[in-house]
């Protein structure tokens, strides 16, 4: 590294305020971005990070405050304005067109025009897409429709789109929350390359290992206020957490040793053509069973089948020793199963409904007498569940789309916990949740387990799976490749089973 001579900032934010109905999302925020630096933006759920990103990309207009670009005061009237000023962003919530191809999505809003014919230049757009995908080591075709991609692949395409703009400032709002280890490594490579090219990068993440791995500088926000900044190399996780939450935090995974009861769920030779094959396992009362694997390992598909969303082509499921046929989510719920799905935006939450209505949706039939909803009971159930998860919002009546990403995830968790399940299936439950809440969620799940809840935890975060689970099942390409007792779990062994290779352990 060069000696620490501060470069001239490319982008500077001074005293920016942003108010929404009922809430101050940003309250006098400063931020200074320099070329060739990766700048971490850190803060709890609802701290205002995404709002800041949206202001920098012209999605929102600040209530007051200044944005300086190369020292000049600037205003972004709309997204295109920011884009032409050289700012590109990968937003937290995917904003793609599912029925269009990867190429069309990447070049949406900045189609290439053929210099001679003045027509849309498909040929070079396709070539560029191929190059981008190759650079990101993504094994998909530019002609694939986005709706046929998995969540992680979609996110990678979103990143490709930002790269295609060749911007000076690249903003990544929780880019890794939907990625697994391998893609995260690829992303690091891309970020380092952008840095070498002298671009400025704003990187938002709740994961400290990522921040310490690739960020140079950080700024911390709390409750919409600027708290402080510093060099990552000069700081510790502890200092940053204290700035974030106002106190220090025990980041340990709270695994309480519990005694397991009877087997509540056993899965026998479950298969689904094209997705997974011959999956068998048993889950006991009070147990947390971790599922680890890479993208496409088939974990989510197994869970969807257990919850009755997809049908198995072979095999069967037993609940407390009785063979059952679960053909839809409602019958799964009647058997005491709850499922927090991976795709929050499409499967977990209804953005145009209030927090209360989202939380009570799975149990509307229980809060109604002769089909008539009991709204005071409904409000009480929602409030209790929501408070357990510490949802931060202007009120329970506001629509879910005004919540920060992490708070939306808390709504989904609250929604399923409120059903008082016997078997809880969590698919990437702490995606986008800040450290403090994550610890709270872990503690909560553990304590529920010690009171007899059976939990399946699907996660691509190895520390989470290892820290939380009693037993870990590793899947690779649709098959179970290892079952490991967590206490003698070993990272290398798990990674080997997950990648299916002897030599390749990341």
């Amino acid at each position: 590294m060069e000696p620490m001579k501060p470069k001239e900032p490319i982008l500077e934010i001074r005293g920016v305020n942003k108010f929404f109905p009922g809430i101050k999302a940003l309250d006098g925020v400063h931020l200074t971005i320099r070329a060739g630096e990766v700048h971490a933006l850190i803060g709890e759920n609802g701290a205002g990070k995404s709002t800041l990103v949206k202001i920098l990309t012209g999605v929102y207009f600040p209530t007051s405050g200044e944005i300086l670009l190369d020292g000049e005061p600037t205003e972004f009237k709309d997204a295109l304005d920011a884009q032409s000023a050289g700012i590109a962003a990968i937003h937290q919530e995917a904003s793609m067109f599912p029925d269009l191809s990867v190429t069309e999505n990447i070049f949406m809003g900045h189609h290439l025009i053929h210099p001679v014919t003045k027509r849309i230049d498909w040929k070079s757009m396709k070539r560029h897409t191929r190059e981008l995908l190759k650079r990101m080591e993504l094994d998909i075709s530019g002609d694939t429709l986005v709706k046929n991609l998995g969540v992680a692949q979609r996110h990678m395409v979103e990143i490709a789109k930002a790269l295609s703009l060749d911007a000076r400032v690249v903003i990544m709002d929780e880019p890794t929350s939907a990625l697994t280890l391998r893609e995260v490594e690829d992303l690091y490579k891309i970020v380092r390359q952008l840095k070498r090219e002298g671009k400025a990068i704003i990187f938002i993440s709740h994961k400290f290992d990522e921040i310490f791995e690739i960020c140079d500088y950080y700024t911390v926000l709390r409750d919409g206020k600027y708290i402080g900044e510093g060099r990552v190399a000069d700081s510790s996780v502890d200092t940053i957490i204290r700035m974030m939450v106002g106190r220090s935090l025990d980041q340990m995974f709270p695994k309480s040793d519990s005694l397991f009861g009877e087997v509540v769920l056993s899965v026998h030779h479950l298969s689904q053509t094209g997705f997974f094959r011959d999956v068998s396992f048993a889950l006991r009362k009070g147990e947390i069973l971790g599922f680890f694997g890479l993208i496409g390992a088939g974990r989510s598909e197994v869970m969807r089948t257990i919850f009755g969303i997809d049908r198995a082509s072979h095999g069967y499921i037993e609940l407390k020793g009785n063979k059952v046929s679960i053909t839809n989510p409602r019958s799964a719920m009647k058997h005491g199963i709850a499922f927090v799905p991976e795709d929050r935006q499409n499967q977990g939450i209804i953005l145009q409904m209030s927090i209360t209505r989202n939380i009570t949706l799975p149990q509307i039939h229980d809060i109604a007498k002769a089909s008539v909803l009991n709204s005071s009971l409904e409000n009480r159930i929602a409030r209790e569940a929501g408070e357990q998860m510490e949802i931060k919002a202007a009120g329970y009546h506001v629509d879910a789309d005004t919540l920060s990403g992490g708070n939306q995830q808390k709504v989904v968790l609250a929604k399923w916990l409120a059903t008082h399940p016997e078997i809880l299936i969590l698919d990437e439950p702490t995606k986008g949740i800040d450290v403090a809440t994550k610890a709270a969620v872990h503690e909560f799940v553990s304590s529920m387990a010690s009171r007899g809840l059976a939990v399946i935890l699907v996660s691509s975060e190895l520390p989470e799976v290892m820290g939380m689970s009693d037993r870990i099942i590793v899947m690779h390409e649709g098959r179970i490749t290892a079952q490991i007792e967590a206490k003698d779990g070993d990272t290398d062994e798990i990674m080997k089973a997950a990648t299916g290779h002897e030599e390749e352990a990341v």
Binding site: N17, F19, F20, P21, G22, I23, K24, D27, G46, T63, S64, D223, G224, G246, I309, N328, P329, R330, A332, M333, F339, P341, N346, Q347, G348, I349, I350, L351, Q352, M353, R357, L361, P362, I364, H365, A368, S371, V372, L373, R383, G386, E387, E390, I391, K392, A393, A394, G395, Y396, K415
Partner: protein, 348 residues
């Protein structure tokens, strides 16, 4: 870490939302409120131009002309709310009216005609629902096909003939008044049905499921809602209500021709959208649509009194419709801008 007011609220960053002024702004930026104001304005304007408008007898009788469509609009709220569409409803009317006319011709009594009307309508709705939910075909395609099919049956048999013999007591439904009053039976029936449908939409689990489905079919499914069953019921209800509307209409005009209720599908959808139901699904209310029904109905009546041509009427409807579709976005914008200014003032 949490504020005293409520533990969920972000610590001390909340702006007071509950002032009288704020609540008034919320109220007056609602589409339903604007429709109601527009309705009042309409009454004031017309009664100032012509003395015949604000006349109890006239107002009551004018309602005959739009009550059948009003009945058809009610279940259409459910269909559109859950993201579907049904453009076969006018043809269901033709089919039902045809079936009743045929039966009346062969001597079936009033009770029998009612039974036939309701069941043929319901079956037609179920027919739509079956293809849409069980076979997974798009609602617009299925109902486009049945639009031709249902009316086609009537056309093929009747050609340019008409059924005109109905039992005497059958005339009550479309022409009768309640007791000795001047209130048409059609009007009372519609209001009763509107109250029931409004209750279902706004107070029951069924209505809640409609909102959920209209906003996100997949999230609704993951929450354990039988999405296709609800949609099937919607189309069935649509058929049943068309059966009711067909009874009223046939009884009122006393005849069945193949072109009966032509274009009423589009007119009904217009009422629903004008009433504030989002054509994308997930948004809307029964009171909103009810006000829209009376607004348009009496607009037509008032313009008729003034001898304004039907073409102007069509243009007016078109303009209102565009406003109805655009306004929600526009209102959001105004709300946001106002809020911003308000907060900036407070800030300084």
């Amino acid at each position: 870490m949490t504020s005293a007011k409520s533990p969920l609220m972000g610590s001390g960053r909340l702006i007071d939302e509950n002032s009288f002024k704020e609540r008034m702004i919320v109220l007056f930026t609602k589409w339903e409120t604007l429709l109601a104001l527009l309705f009042v304005l309409e009454i004031v304007v017309f009664s100032n131009i012509t003395p015949y408008f604000l006349d109890y007898f006239n107002l009551m009788n004018a309602s005959f002309t739009f009550m059948e469509k009003a009945v058809m609009a009610l279940p259409m709220i459910f269909v559109i709310m859950s993201g579907d569409i049904d453009i076969s409803i006018a043809s269901i009317i033709a089919l039902v009216s045809f079936a009743m006319g045929y039966a009346a011709e062969s001597g079936v009594d009033t009770a029998g005609l009612i039974l036939i009307g309701l069941s043929v309508g319901t079956l037609a709705g179920m027919f739509n629902g079956f293809f849409i939910t069980k076979l997974g075909m798009p609602a617009i395609a299925v109902t486009l096909a049945t639009q031709s099919l249902f009316r086609g049956i009537s056309q093929a048999v009747l050609e340019d003939h008409a059924y005109t013999t109905y039992p005497e007591s059958f005339a009550f439904f479309g022409q009768g008044y309640v007791g000795d009053s001047l209130i048409p039976f059609e009007l009372v029936l519609f209001l009763a049905l509107a109250v029931i449908m409004g209750f279902i939409l706004h107070k029951t689990t069924y209505g809640r499921q409609l909102y959920a489905i209209g906003n996100s079919k997949s999230a609704a499914r993951f929450a354990g809602i039988y999405v296709d069953r609800v949609r099937f019921i919607n189309f069935t209800l649509n058929g049943l209500f068309c059966g009711i509307a067909a009874i009223l209409l046939t009884s009122r005009i006393g005849s069945t021709r193949p072109n009966i209720a032509l274009n009423w599908d589009i007119e009904t959808i217009t009422l629903v959208v004008l009433g504030g139901v989002s054509i994308m699904g997930g948004r809307g209310t029964v009171p909103g649509v009810t006000v829209a029904i009376f607004l348009l109905g009496y607009l037509k009546f008032g313009m008729g009194l003034l001898n304004i041509s039907a073409k102007i009427m069509i243009i007016t409807t078109g303009v209102l419709l565009i406003i109805a579709v655009l306004l929600p976005n526009f209102l959001d914008l105004i709300k946001a801008k106002r809020k911003l200014r308000l907060q900036q003032v407070r800030q300084n």
